[in-house]
Symmetry: D3
Subunit: 237 residues, 6 copies
């Protein structure tokens, strides 16, 4: 039995609050079970310094942070100038995942920054950050007159397809969908999968935690992930 | 007229959500008009390294940060190892204000950390952080068996009195209570006042912003502050 | 009795050395009792990067630091990239206090930096830094041909009025002027006041140190501060 | 055709120099084509501070860095206190991969640090770092009397199995093994695979670079990786 | 002719103020011409963390910094966590030079920190820091009962001999003693020499500034240095 | 007897590998006994920000670092934003030494960066870095068409003369050439000398390590250094 009595192929309950705050064009408070992330999308005309200003395209980037009160015991702030390695990894993953479904030329010369701040952590913060950021990005684009009323796949719209992410894992040898913290800590294999609505992979990160896995287990995990992502994409729509 | 049509001596509407998150014993989402702060209170047995472990007392400290999406344009994170001076000032003020009403011996050998994270900023974030932290601190103490069911002033309870804070200011020569951002930016004089329920001052910080003020103006501002704090303390109770 | 036998309303003896060093146009070594601060004023044509170069105005800023040998035990240098919170607070106060009496348009496109380095600390370093910086600023302006021979209040002179600062406090319930270190450590209430020669407030910062204070005590403290500042302004002139 | 005329399923030529330097018990200079990494393994009795000293186990960690002259143009050193995100990701991957085949209890209370310094970069530095570190780790263990003469899988030997890593990718729609830099830059999909000699997965990281991929492509890439890793493990042995 | 009309073998006028500040047992304000350095010597029982607490010896260390107002234009403070390379070099030289004449066992388990803060810079700040620190160190030892009344060379006194330092250089081909800033900037060869009262070398650092020098020039420079240091040691005594 | 049985005036065996890596125009792996340094020379058109772009000259700079595996026990990386003082000193010395023989105008508007990374440390790393950098610099210039085929001293060639460096020292009172680590640790006097092929001094740094030395000893040490540098310059040629 899972800690919260879910079947092995069931997502935790998801709730999504649009425009939770109002200073940024996108602001999504997303919950999956006890995990809670605030994803805000800011739009700026100021492109990153490494971009060639003559290229007629934009950029999408992300930052991730866990708030001090999101865990017990309290997590110290990253204030000594070093972001911890895990946060760095996650924010790179979020940005890369969104860029896989964005046409940067169609976006125009704009920087969109997704800030994913974890208010409460109970497993799956990185995948929930991707899913929440996808929605925040769409809300933000909706505020731009040239994109208002359009949706992914529409001609001229910079988002080519929906993307969503979910974690899967082997816990006590059993493949499970959407691990909560207790399961995540005990998992032999932990895998994060990002896919499009069209069922194509954007990213697969599978890790044996002091363990290894074989091809059949990989196939089962990917099947669970596909199911979960299908449901998430429906929610996004 | 004020931007939001309030009378000069009226607070913005306040809403308080207890236990907004559940990983810390105190977690208050407090709003005053458009300003919104999450105040979490964490309890730890690990005292700060500068404290003498043989002293039988505790400590109360605070950290303050504005989230990237709390303002427009987006505010960069403090990730280069330097907290901006304003945040340093504010978090020192929050900690000092709470300690003025806490009996650190009665608290016992515990560290309570108040994390004040501004989700949305529209003026008065530092005073709202103090008021929200006061409530989060009380909620956190309620979870400790030895203090459960007690309230400020009760014998043996480490909080001696309620404390609350409010901003006042001179805008176009007019004394006003609880400035919103537009007023704050235009104020000739900006003053933050922290008081106890019993009407005693904990802190007064009055600043002429490229201007100065006289004793009569000071008296009028303090009178407004006293009125506002009285109302806030009623809310806390 | 006070540690140095002064009456409660008496300043410590002040000595001011002009042009203590000669590489900056203003250089004041100021002593109040055992406290000793070197305030140098540098003038530069290079404005801070956040200023709009098209605005035809200047800026006045300050930096504050305690030298390692200024206290016993020795104070470590701020060399790890983090200025301690107290120094940040003080240097912001010094800059803000001076800007309250400076007309930045009349100053022209110049940056004036006041460096306040405490050579010996015995209480009141922040207020003495303000008073010393005021004098260093005037000495520095005197070296500019367009301002030579003018004084605060003169037409076209960028300093509108003299400013000075002093600390007051409640020690064993008694209001006292210009606290030395022993008094400062023992004070129930500590207040720093910055005023103009004309008797108007620039800044009031009153703090109950694990204590609170009422309106009568506030009035008594402000009366003492007014007396002390009157005497300091005479010295400046 | 590939830039170096290799068949799509062929590894670049590998050369391995044991004991390239002599101050550490393991020191491997490993080359794959033009990529060249120095992997040193140091043994220390001083465990990381976060480990509970009462646990009777060891730890294996890794650090990764590209030397300034390893690329053209020159790569700046990480000297401002921030390791770039990519290096952080890679060194975490190297450490995790090795720990998947190490029995930390059998290792005993020792810290083994693998330092992977890229002398020359031409694609595949992270996977070559894993393979080189595996060999350096074995050389280092050989110097410990209790493990001398043993090999992975032997009873009481802390390394349970050989591990090796390789990159695969889709370039112009074609699955290829062991990408060089030109191919890596042009790849639609980039995948790093770490496996044991026994053919089990330790880690899969597949990323669509502004592109996506389907299940058939995933299967083809994994097949290529399996072939390459089989050959690498033979070299290690 | 030299900028200040001195003969080539003449020191600038030296003035030494003992106990310029009173929070540290040694505090020397030393001037050579326009160069002015405050050298304070602090004594602590807390030895550096790298020292073995079972060794029955002490340590002498130094820190060097140029104050912001010591030069024109103003020198920025080292507040970003990186001390500039020149300051690092100088403070290492000062500490090493003093340790060459100190018997660390006789000093006992004490840390003496010499803080050299340049108030005004006109060439020769590093050598003046050494000479000033020597005197501050002797003043500090005088305050310890076990060493009071003793002088360098006395039995049981931890300072074995006086040390002093001076700069020499080739300017327009001419060997000169004790360069001021204008000469230092123009010098083809710049040499700093530290010697004992007994005429033995502690340190020689000679540098061709985009130039080179031969053995005869070296001999002439060392002769000048010997003369200058002889005079400095007389002053110290 | 010396630890490796050399006569007191003999260099350790030197081996030089040109083009050890191929991403930079100069890349020298240089060994002296057990000490091993990789010196790469990179050429860039981007001059340092402090240079006036209107000056028609270039710059030569150096960076020095010891790799973690170069010593036993392992040396931690400089990743906290502070380069250790010794590395700073050394890299400044390497850059300064090369610039003494380079005509920066003839070099043209180019930045040449010498990266000296110590792979294995056994004494004399700083002097070997200078000698290796000299050769890497010449190899790098050889790749520029305008300088190909020329050598130091040729008209129009930016390197005016060969430079090389060696350490000498007093060990048990005996002057010795080219100290290895054991000797270096035990030396009473440690001296690093940089000279041109023409026999002129570029830099002398002689330090008494808790000891002092007289003029005769200085003369003997310089004589040994001259012999060693003569042999090194022959190798360079």
């Amino acid at each position: 039995m899972r800690p919260d009595d879910r079947p092995t192929d069931e997502l935790r309950p998801i709730t999504i609050t649009h425009h939770f705050t109002n200073k940024t064009p996108g602001s999504i408070l997303i919950r999956a079970g006890e995990t809670m992330v605030l994803c805000t999308a800011s739009i700026s005309d100021k492109l990153p310094p490494w971009m060639n200003p003559e290229e007629l395209r934009g950029w999408v980037t992300a930052e991730y942070s866990m708030m001090p009160g999101s865990t017990s015991p309290r997590k110290s702030r990253d204030r000594n100038g070093k972001i911890d390695g895990r946060s760095t990894e996650i924010q790179r993953l979020v940005g890369r995942s969104l860029r896989a479904v964005v046409d940067l030329e169609l976006l125009g010369q704009r920087l969109i920054t997704l800030d994913c701040d974890v208010l409460q952590a109970d497993g799956g913060t990185r995948t929930l950050s991707i899913t929440g950021s996808m929605i925040a990005l769409l809300d933000a684009l909706e505020t731009l007159p040239e994109f208002a009323g359009k949706k992914p796949g529409d001609e001229g719209f910079p988002v080519k397809d929906y993307a969503a992410a979910v974690s899967v894992g082997l816990v006590e040898g059993e493949p499970r969908l959407d691990l909560c913290y207790i399961e995540d800590s005990a998992a032999e294999v932990d895998m994060n999968v990002v896919m499009t609505a069209g069922g194509r992979f954007i990213e697969i990160q599978g890790t044996g935690e002091e363990a290894t896995f074989d091809e059949n287990q990989l196939a089962e995990l990917l099947k669970l992930a596909r199911k979960g992502i299908g449901e998430l994409v429906e929610l996004e729509k």
